[in-house]
C-alpha cells in the first residue's frame, strides 16, 4: 500500500463491495418470501446511506447519486410501511432494487479497473424517481391526512428535525425547502449561496431563500456552515427542478429536501420515533465530518456484535506471509540436512531440529488457514443468477445450497467462481425442462431443483452442481461430436463417461441456438481450463430424463504440496504426490508396443502408455534402458499413464513458485511444466503437471 489514497480506495471498495453483497443476499432472501421485513428495509436504507456517504467522501458522484435515490426510495417505504405497497409495486420494487444494485456494482467495477465512472446515470435515477412518485401517489388514498402530507416527500420529515425547526423559524409559507450544505472549508459560503440563487433565477422558478442577505452580509457564511442554506419552494415539481440546478453547482456537499409539516407535535414525535437509527444522522450533517460517519456507526454498531473478532487483511500481506513461511520451511530443511553435519552424533541438535520442524509445520498450517475463506460468497452469487434466469427463461427453479461454510483458499475461490457460474447457467438453460408441463409429464415436481453443494475430503474440496432436469442425451452428444469432427475413435467404442467428457472439448455446445446465457460455443472447455488452472478436475455424470451432475474437485491450496522428486539426466523434476499411484521397476520383456510402436505396460490387468520424460523433453538422459530407470505410475483426471525417469530422489514438501511470466508466454504450461520450487540446496526443481503432460504427449 503506497499511499493514503490507495488505502482509502481499497477500504472504500472493500466496504462497498461487501455491502452490495449483503444487499444481494438480503434481496434474494426477501424475494423468496415475497416480502421486505422492516429489518430488511432498515438494512437496505442503512447500506445505501453508508454507500452514499463514503462515495460522497471519495467524490464518486454517480455512485453517490444512485445510492441517494435508493435511500430516498427506502426511506419512503420505511415511513409508510411495506404494507402500503400492493404486490405489483412490490415486485417492481424488487426489480428496481436489483437493477440499481447492479448499476452500483458496475460502477464499483469500473473503479476497480481504473476506468472513468459513468457520468450519465439519469436513466436509473429517473426510474427510481418515477417509481417513487408512483408509489407515493398510490399511497395517498390509503393513508390519513398527515401521512398524505408526508407521502410525496423524499427524505424529509423526521430525518431532519433540526432543519424543520429552522425552516419553521423563517416563517415562510413554502411547504418545501432545500437545505444545502457546501463543502467543508470551501470558503465564501455566502457568495456561493448567492451564485446558486442566481442560477435558480435563471430557471424561472418561484422560490425564497434564507438567510436572505447572503449577497451583502458575509457573516451569513457562518450561518450557512452551521445550519445550511435554505431555499423554499411551493411545490414538489419545483423542488425537483431545482435539485437539477443544485446538482450542477460546484462545491456542494449535500442537500436535503425538507417538507414543512403542519401537524400536531405528537404526530411528529411519532414519525421521528420510527427510524431511530437514522434520525440523529440526518439531523446533523453539518457537523465536522460529512454525513456518512454517523451512518457508518449505525451499521457498524449492528455488525459489531457478529463481527467483533474479525479483521480484514490485505491479501498481499497474506501472500507475503505465505512466502516467508515457505522460505522458513525450505531453510529449516536446509539446516537440518546440512552436509557438514553428516557423520556427527548430535543428540540435542536432532531433538531441537525435530521440535523446530514441528513448529514450522504448525506455522505453515496456520498461515495456510489464514487464507481460507468460506465458499458461501460464491454460492450466494449463484442465487442471484438463478433468480435472474428464472425470470428471463420463465422457469420455476429452486436453488438448494449445501455446505456453504466449506473453506477454500482465497485465490482458488476467486478463480472457480466463473466456472461454477457457467455450469449453473448451463443447468438452468439446458438442464431444467423448458415448461412445467414437461416436468409433470415426466412425473417430476413442477418446480425444478438445482443443488449446489460443497464438501471437504482431506486435501480436496468437492463442489457439485446437480439439477433434476432432462439430463443429457449421450447419442445426441456423440452425433454432434461426430459432426464437429471431435471423435478420435469409432462411435461404438465410446463409453458413457467418455461421451460426457466430449462436452468439455473446445468448440462443443449442445444447444443449437445461442442464448443470452449460455451456448456461445466457448462453454465447458473454458470451464475445464479454469478448473485445471487451479489444479482441479471436473467430471460430468448424467442420466437421461433424471438430471445431470457436474463435479469439481479442487485442491485446498496450491501453495504448498507434497511432491516426489525425480531426476532425468541433470534436471530435477517434482511430481505432486497426489498424482502418483505407484512407482515400479519392470523388466524389458514386460514392455509391450501398440500399433504405432508406442511403449505400453500392463499393470494389474490394465494397459498404460509409457512416456519417457527424456524423450519428451529432449533431455540428455543417464539411463535409457527401461530396467535401469524407474516407472512412475501417475494419474490425473481421467488419464493414467507411466513416466519413465532416471531415478527417484525422495519425497518432500515443496513450496510452489509460479514460473516467470516471460516463460509462461512460451506456453510451457501446455507441456506439463506448471511451476517450480527451490530445493534445500538452493537449486530449482521443475514441477510437472501430469494431465497437461499427457495431453501434450498425445498430440
Amino acid at each position: 500500500m503506497d499511499n493514503g489514497m490507495d488505502n482509502m480506495l481499497d477500504m472504500y471498495l472493500f466496504e462497498t463491495n461487501s455491502l452490495l453483497e449483503q444487499l444481494d443476499e438480503l434481496l434474494i432472501e426477501a424475494e423468496k418470501n415475497e416480502e421486505f421485513t422492516t429489518d430488511d428495509v432498515n438494512e437496505i436504507f442503512r447500506a445505501m446511506h453508508t454507500i452514499k456517504g463514503s462515495s460522497a467522501m471519495m467524490e464518486f458522484n454517480s455512485l453517490m447519486t444512485i445510492a441517494h435515490r435508493i435511500e430516498d426510495l427506502f426511506f419512503f417505504v420505511r415511513e409508510n410501511g411495506i404494507d402500503s405497497l400492493n404486490s405489483t409495486d412490490k415486485s417492481e420494487l424488487f426489480n428496481l432494487t436489483f437493477k440499481s444494485t447492479d448499476v452500483l456494482r458496475g460502477e464499483v467495477e469500473k473503479l476497480e479497473n481504473n476506468e472513468p465512472l459513468s457520468t450519465n446515470i439519469d436513466s436509473i435515477t429517473s426510474e427510481i424517481n418515477s417509481f417513487l412518485n408512483k408509489i407515493s401517489g398510490a399511497g395517498e388514498p390509503e393513508e390519513e391526512a398527515p401521512a398524505k402530507e408526508e407521502a410525496p416527500e423524499l427524505k424529509a420529515a423526521a430525518g431532519s428535525e433540526a432543519g424543520q425547526k429552522l425552516v419553521e423559524s423563517f416563517g415562510s409559507k413554502c411547504p418545501f425547502f432545500l437545505q444545502i450544505f457546501f463543502e467543508e472549508g470551501c470558503g465564501m459560503e455566502n457568495l456561493r449561496a448567492f451564485m446558486l440563487v442566481n442560477a435558480l433565477h435563471g430557471t424561472e422558478l418561484e422560490f425564497e431563500f434564507y438567510p436572505e442577505d447572503v449577497e451583502s452580509n458575509s457573516a451569513t457564511s457562518e450561518v450557512i456552515i452551521d445550519h445550511g442554506f435554505f431555499v423554499g419552494f411551493h411545490s414538489e415539481e419545483d423542488v425537483n427542478k431545482a435539485i437539477a440546478v443544485v446538482e450542477e453547482q460546484g462545491s456542494i456537499q449535500t442537500y436535503e429536501v425538507i417538507h414543512v409539516e403542519k401537524k400536531p407535535e405528537a404526530e411528529k414525535a411519532k414519525a421521528s420515533d420510527a427510524p431511530k437509527a437514522a434520525a440523529p444522522v440526518q439531523g446533523e450533517p453539518a457537523k465536522g465530518t460529512p454525513a456518512q460517519n454517523p451512518g457508518k456507526e449505525a451499521t457498524g454498531a449492528q455488525a459489531q456484535h457478529a463481527k467483533q473478532s474479525l479483521l480484514s487483511v490485505n491479501l498481499s500481506k497474506l501472500d507475503a506471509l505465505q512466502a516467508i513461511v515457505g522460505e522458513i520451511v525450505i531453510t529449516e530443511s536446509m539446516v537440518a540436512s546440512s552436509p557438514e553435519l553428516q557423520g556427527l552424533k548430535l543428540d540435542t541438535f536432532l531433538k531441537n531440529t525435530r521440535q523446530l520442524r514441528k513448529l514450522t509445520d504448525d506455522l505453515q498450517d496456520i498461515s495456510m488457514s489464514l487464507r481460507m475463506v468460506s465458499i458461501s460468497g460464491t454460492f450466494q452469487k449463484m442465487n442471484r443468477i438463478v433468480r435472474d434466469m428464472k425470470k428471463a427463461l420463465n422457469k420455476d427453479v429452486r436453488l438448494t445450497i449445501i455446505g456453504e461454510d466449506t473453506e477454500i483458499d482465497k485465490t482458488i475461490v476467486d478463480s472457480i467462481s466463473d466456472p461454477i457460474m457457467h455450469i449453473v447457467r448451463n443447468s438452468m438453460d439446458h438442464g431444467i425442462e423448458t415448461t412445467k408441463e414437461e416436468r409433470i409429464a415426466a412425473g417430476k415436481d413442477p418446480q425444478g431443483e438445482l443443488i449446489l453443494s460443497a464438501s471437504h475430503t482431506g486435501s480436496e474440496v468437492i463442489i457439485s452442481i446437480s439439477d433434476d432436469g432432462q439430463g443429457m442425451d449421450t447419442e445426441k452428444i456423440l452425433a454432434k461430436a461426430a459432426r464437429n469432427g471431435l471423435l478420435t475413435k469409432p462411435e461404438s467404442e465410446y463409453s458413457k463417461k467418455e461421451i460426457l467428457s466430449l462436452l468439455m472439448l473446445p468448440g462443443f455446445s449442445t444447444n443449437e441456438e445461442v442464448t443470452e446465457f449460455s451456448g456461445r460455443g466457448v462453454g465447458m472447455d473454458v470451464v475445464k481450463k479454469n478448473v485445471e488452472s487451479v489444479g482441479g478436475t471436473i467430471s460430468i455424470t448424467s442420466e437421461l430424463g433424471q438430471g445431470s451432475c457436474t463435479t469439481l474437485k479442487i485442491p485446498l491450496t496450491m501453495a504448498i504440496v507434497d511432491g516426489m522428486e525425480i531426476r532425468v539426466g541433470k534436471t530435477i523434476f517434482t511430481i505432486p504426490i497426489s498424482n502418483i499411484r505407484q512407482s515400479i521397476k519392470i523388466a524389458r520383456e514386460n514392455v509391450l508396443h501398440d500399433a504405432k510402436g508406442n511403449e505400453i505396460v500392463k499393470i494389474m490387468d490394465e494397459f498404460y502408455p509409457i512416456i519417457r520424460l527424456h524423450e519428451f523433453y529432449n533431455i540428455e538422459p543417464e539411463v535409457t534402458s527401461i530396467e535401469d530407470g524407474i516407472l512412475i505410475w501417475v494419474e490425473a483426471g481421467d488419464h493414467s499413464y507411466c513416466m519413465f525417469v532416471d531415478e527417484l530422489l525422495g519425497e518432500r514438501q515443496i513450496v510452489v513458485k509460479p514460473l516467470p511470466s516471460y516463460l509462461n508466454s512460451f506456453n510451457i504450461k501446455d507441456y506439463g511444466i506448471s511451476g517450480c520450487t527451490i530445493l534445500g540446496d538452493g537449486n530449482i526443481s521443475i514441477i510437472l503437471e501430469v494431465m497437461n503432460l499427457y495431453n501434450a504427449a498425445n498430440v
Binding site: 512466502a323 522460505e327 541433470k570 534436471t571 530435477i572 523433453y617 529432449n618 533431455i619 513458485k657 509460479p658 514460473l659 516467470p660 511470466s661 516471460y662 516463460l663 508466454s665 512460451f666 510451457i668 507441456y671 511444466i673 517450480c676 527451490i678 538452493g682 537449486n683 530449482i684 526443481s685 521443475i686
Partner: protein, 160 residues
Amino acid sequence: MSTEQMQNTNMDAQENGAPEADISMERYLTFRSDGTTMGVSTDYVIEILTDQMITEIPMVPNFIKGIINMRGQIVPIIDMRLKMGKFADTTESTCIIVLDIDSSCVGIQVDGVEQVLDIDKTQISPIPVEDQQGLVDGMISLSSQEVLLFLNCQELIRTY
C-alpha cells in the same frame, strides 16, 4: 579499457557537473557479447551475477538458458549470444546482468561487463540497418574503432 580509464570516465562525468542536472544525459552499463559492445540504461539494471547455477527448462526457445534462483526469486535467463543469432560460447568473464523490465526480472547472459558511461542521449544516432529483431534501437561511436549499440529492453522480452 583499463580500470584507470574507467575511473577517469566516471570522474570526468562528475567534474562536468552532476549528470542529473542535464536531462539528456543518461547512465548506461556497457557489456560485451560476441565482439559487440552494447549498452543498457542503468535504470533497468538490478545487479550483476557471476557463477550462477542455471536450471534448464525444457520446451522453450534455445536462447532461454533456463532459470536461476536469485534470493528466492525465480529469474529467467536469456543468452544474448543466442538471442542475437550468434553461437553459444562462454568466457571466463561470462556473467548475468539482471534487468527489471516493466517490473518483471529477466537476466541476460553476456560475455562480460565493461563500465558505466554517462551518455548524452541527443548524440545517439539511429541504426542505419534495421535488424530483424529490433533488439538494438540506437548507436553511438565511442572512439574511432568502437561503436556502442543500445539494447531495446522492451523488444528483448517481446515474445510474439
